[in-house]
Amino acid sequence: MLFIMRSRRWIKKLVIGLLWLALWHITYKLVDRALYVPSITSVMKALLGLIIDVRFWQIIAASVYRVLAGLFLSLVFGVSIGVLCGLNGLLFDFINPFVKAIRATPVISFIIIALIWFKSTNVPIFISFLMCFPIIWTNVVSGIRNIDVKLIEMAKVYQLKRSLIIRKIYLPHIKPFFTAGVIMALGLGWKVSVAAEVLSHPQYAIGSNLHSAKAYLDTPLLFAWTIVVILLSFIFESFFALWAKESRKTL
């Protein structure tokens, strides 16, 4: 029974996917200029050409590394500074305008500044850090501020150590806020990191390849790379959604 329902869902998904491919094909026929809209077969051919090359996997690894490195930095700083700001109002007032300013600044300004400051390979790391940090920070702060003061009172009456209060009460409490932040940050971090790569041209990078595909007017290749970005984004998202579900279970 379950199997039938599952396979039905799959069939539905497959049909929807095929419909979109058909739409693509129709558009291709209508526009009738491969430079603007390439054919499905040419994009698939380009994609296949990429996948069989070892360099492709090195590029993917390098780009994924940059996003994760940026995300990791934003987690370290976002959680630690977020916890402190959640506990200390004065520190919050100090950090808050800075975070607000980061949020209001267009990514492109940061990318240009970062191009001056850093080596090309580090620019995307810095950018994905800078974009993810405010998200993590905000979620952690609101998690801490949301805590039930009655539980903290209880912990203090029973003379629990400060470190224990943080580990056993604050951290489990902010976990769902934190998870939501990570999922959001991941989606954003991935996009801005690729954008930064387009401008900073590291030797191994998805963004650099998008850029050169554009430079050579190789539209199928451009599409192929974009599909790669989308697929990776999906993989990341479902991986972390799964992780979030697991961690909710243990809660």
């Binding site: 009655k150 539980l151 209880m154 029973y158 056993k168 489990p172």
Partner: protein
Amino acid sequence: MNLSIKNIHKSYGELKVLEDFNLELDKSRIHCFFGPSGCGKTTLMHVMAGILKPDSGQIIMSSDVRFSYIFQEERLLPWMTVKENVALVLQEKAPAYVERKVLESLSLVELSDFSQYYPSALSGGMRQRVSIARAFAYEGDVLAMDEPFKGLHLKLKQNLMDAIYKYWVLHKPFTYFITHDIDDALYIADDIYILDGPPMKIIEKINIEVPHELRKTNPELLMDYKMRLSGIR
């Protein structure tokens, strides 16, 4: 060790809950606070335990006392099992001791079979019992209880009160509690403070002079007290 409450003032905005409140509690007796809802009993107990800072006045007791506190609400951590919630307050102790203490106090509140449950999967009365078990496991120098028996069945309530009394005889903690139930008050209290407010006033202090051992077997001895308490309001 006695506990002195001296010239305590505590207001919430305009509302004066404690106004020049004074009270002297004797360690050798079990005290009960009895009074209408909203008169300031919980506030008083919070001030006594240092959870709330009074606007002025002093609480005088020997320093560094440990409180076994049963709050009016259960205050359990939702992400911890029953067992973990109780064990939480015993972090400094050796694992074997913790294990034994936790099981002991859970069996006292008849929750041994539920040690692996999360609070969300328990009934209100069961959660209340976890909070009682936590206070017992901690073995504080003070046993402060804010309506500890609310929502509990008579038989279990009596068992718990017997256990509290036995524990009190053995360890002699400083013991005081809040209740709205005359029978509970008469069953284990030595001194009952009849309160009104806010601002909180002590209307009357009733000393129950019936020995604890007789209260279960000869409840008629408590009749006079019961009439007096029922007559109030």
